[in-house]
């Protein structure tokens, strides 16, 4: 018994010694975020920062699958990463206990206003991001030219164009309906068109005060759009995922892909470097002015409030968003549209067209940020059941309304 006790005591001392060893020495920043598609760019940024602050060690980890679960595990184990990721908008309140308010720092002041609003609660700035995304329909210009049509800006034109494209032997849509997030990306365009204040509209849904059938834009237009997409889309709609969509558009099989945005451009170019990428909004109704793209950040990076290396982390974030290197990093290294003022914009096809369309017609608000992904995943499942034909439109609407209240009704 005594021997056993002494062995266990020795083991315990060894473990505690190991944890103490990590505590002294230079600052250490732990970054654990989603978005592995930008891993190379972020590593380049970290290497660049090493030259500015050689004493700081940055541990960068990224994953996409199950990111929220892994993050929760880390938080509950007491190892909240110094920089972690969530969605922007409503999810701030979920993580409020852990996220640092950095209003007034150079990083916060550098953010574009459109980005800052979805990252803030009142005057407190709780997040930042490095990608300002564009959401809309990505299409193949060559196919449209061959069919002799312009991109449709009304729903009637869209239906007619689908016939023409199908007659030419192309598949009008690749829908990616196997992914749950495609639905939220499509739905937000209809939310923006349904109300002048989509944030308030979503809040009403969350409080259970309104129904989908109160809004023809949601009840009729959205479901008509989905029906059209299924009719002219993949033969097995619930089996096509993001890779399937990109491959269909990149190989010239499909004319348009749904639920995507600026992030697919790199992948499409790697499939076909000559592809002519077109980008436009969703023709939600017969009013061409409502066919808008949406721009903004749907993801947010947050800084851990009680971090041991809070100062070092803040310095790094300031470097990221305000330094000269940082300002060119967005366009040159990461190839994304920047989220800060005075930074270089990349000359990608989607960014250029997106900016033109925004200048012409304005851009919609990132309505998906008004709900959390918990709701959106369930929303995606309900829409999948509708696409699969197992529930009717009214059943789907009833479930959507119920889940909105159930999952987001109480203020967190």
């Amino acid at each position: 018994m005594k021997k056993l006790l002494s062995v266990m005591l020795a083991l315990a001392m060894l473990l505690s010694a190991a944890s103490f060893a990590a505590a002294d020495g230079s600052a250490e920043i732990n970054i654990f975020i989603s978005g592995p598609e930008y891993a190379d760019a972020i590593r380049a940024l970290i290497d660049a920062y090493k030259e500015v602050a050689p004493d700081v060690t940055i541990n960068y980890e990224t994953t996409q699958n199950d990111y929220p679960t892994l993050l929760k595990t880390k938080i509950n184990a007491g190892e909240c990463p110094d920089i972690f990721a969530t969605t922007s908008g409503k999810e701030i309140s979920v993580y409020k206990d852990y996220s640092y308010n950095f209003a007034g720092t150079p990083a916060a002041d550098a953010l574009l206003d459109s980005v800052k609003t979805v990252m803030s609660i009142g005057d407190e700035v709780h997040g930042f991001h490095y990608v300002s995304n564009f959401f809309g329909i990505v299409y193949n210009k060559a196919i449209f030219e061959e069919c002799g049509i312009e991109f449709p800006t009304t729903f009637t034109e869209l239906a007619a164009d689908c016939e023409i494209i199908a007659a030419k032997g192309y598949q009008p849509f690749s829908t990616g309906f196997a992914e749950w997030w495609v639905y939220k990306h499509i739905f937000q365009h209809f939310l923006d068109a349904a109300s002048d204040d989509p944030a308030d509209l979503v809040a009403k849904f969350q409080a259970g005060e309104v129904k989908m059938s109160d809004y023809p834009m949601l009840y009729d237009n959205f479901f008509n759009f989905i029906d059209l997409a299924v009719k002219y889309g993949d033969s097995k709609p619930l089996e096509t995922d993001l890779a399937g969509e990109e491959s269909a558009l990149g190989t010239g099989k499909a004319a348009m892909i749904l639920g995507q945005g600026a992030w697919v451009e790199n992948d499409l170019l790697s499939i076909d470097p000559e592809i002519q990428i077109g980008f436009n909004g969703y023709p939600v109704s017969d009013d061409p002015a409502q066919c808008q793209v949406i721009s903004g950040s749907d993801q947010a990076l947050r800084i851990y409030k009680d971090s041991d290396s809070l100062e070092a982390t803040m310095d790094f974030v300031n470097f990221w968003l305000t330094s000269d290197y940082g300002k060119t990093w967005f366009a040159d290294v990461c190839n994304v549209i920047p989220t800060v003022k005075d930074a270089k914009v990349p000359a990608t096809a989607i960014a250029t067209q997106g900016n033109e369309l925004t200048a012409e017609k304005g851009a919609g608000a990132v309505a998906i940020s008004y709900s959390t992904d918990s709701f959106h995943q369930t929303f995606g499942e309900i829409m999948q059941a509708y696409v699969g034909g197992t529930i009717t439109k009214d059943e789907a609407c009833a479930q959507i309304e119920q889940k909105w209240v159930e999952l987001e009704g109480s203020a967190e």
């Binding site: 018994m1 196997a178 369930t378 999948q384 059941a385 696409v387 699969g388 529930i391």
Partner: protein, 301 residues
């Protein structure tokens, strides 16, 4: 002659006891840490409302259980799905495994190699299995359809709610078949040869020998395999997560996956814990009943 060197019986018993404790203590500690303590904590969380992130859970008593019983159609749907899955899984696994085991005890030339081949899926990681079968179901079947034109390859095996159940079942059975085959081979090899000889002398043909002699003597093996396949199928999680993630449209949520979704995706950790406690009770009751039933039918050789 003095019996001085032998220790007294009491001392012997005490040192044996000390040894027993010393050998089992590390395992006991680990099991307590990994199983019992989390289980008790899970019971505590079942009485709270917590989103898994904020610093303090809110105590709400039995409200979670009330929610489950009064307004949770998804949990019921998941239970029905799991029940259906378990039933077919037990049937298919055991019948197939027994049939294959009988063939594999025949003693043909490559028998060890073939036994090994059947066991390989069991040691493959779930993610790999999921990817491989996803590829087979989508692209593999597509090409088979182009090749043969048979309608069965053209169905949407992963995109249709009804078919997805069978896809998940097939992959689940395929993956763990090797395990049950090994158990049945061991059971078959333990059937005494002289009993079989006596039966054939008495005029029993192959089928009668199998159903009247071998099968009853396989009682313990059958009990073990049925019990194991029952518990494994009631706990099915990885297969579904890798293949369909519960889709399409929520058609393939097993009870465990539904609990996972409730706790981690819907941020209702308290409700998820309550569901898991309830499910634990359900599984306990079912397995005890099944065990009692099968043990009563075993032939004690």
């Amino acid at each position: 002659m003095r019996r001085s060197s032998r220790p007294r019986p009491g001392v012997l018993a005490r040192s044996a006891l000390r040894e027993t404790i010393a050998y089992t203590l590390p395992a006991m500690i680990l099991v307590t840490l990994m199983l019992y303590i989390p289980f008790v904590l899970s019971g505590y969380y079942a009485l709270t409302e917590w989103n898994g992130i904020s610093k303090t859970p809110v105590f709400i008593g039995f409200a979670n259980f009330v929610t489950i019983f009064s307004g949770s159609p998804e949990f019921l749907k998941a239970l029905v799905f799991t029940g259906k899955y378990a039933l077919f899984f037990i049937l298919l696994s055991n019948v197939l495994a027994l049939a294959l085991a009988t063939v594999l005890t025949r003693g043909f030339r490559a028998v060890n190699l073939v036994r090994g081949l059947f066991f390989v899926p069991y040691i493959m990681s779930m993610t790999i299995v999921g990817f491989i079968w996803k590829f087979i179901f989508t692209q593999g079947f597509e090409h088979l359809y182009e090749f043969t034109g048979w309608g069965v390859w053209n169905y949407s095996w992963l995109g249709n709610g009804q078919l997805a159940f069978w896809s998940v079942l097939i992959v689940g059975v395929w993956q763990s078949l090797g395990f049950y085959i090994v158990l049945y081979i061991a059971g078959l090899q333990a059937v005494p040869g002289d009993v079989l000889e006596a039966a054939s002398i008495d005029g029993a043909n192959g089928r009668q020998r199998f159903f009247r002699v071998v099968l009853p003597l396989l009682g313990p093996s059958i009990t073990t395999c049925v019990f194991m396949s029952l518990t494994n199928s009631l706990k099915v999680f990885d297969t579904i997560l890798a293949l369909t993630k519960g889709g399409p449209g929520g058609a393939t949520y097993s009870a465990t996956l539904e609990i996972y979704r409730e706790a981690f995706q819907n941020n209702h950790y308290g409700l998820g814990s309550a569901k898991s406690i309830l499910y634990f009770v359900i599984v306990l009751v079912i397995t005890q009943l099944v065990l009692r039933f099968f043990e009563s039918r075993e032939v004690k050789a």
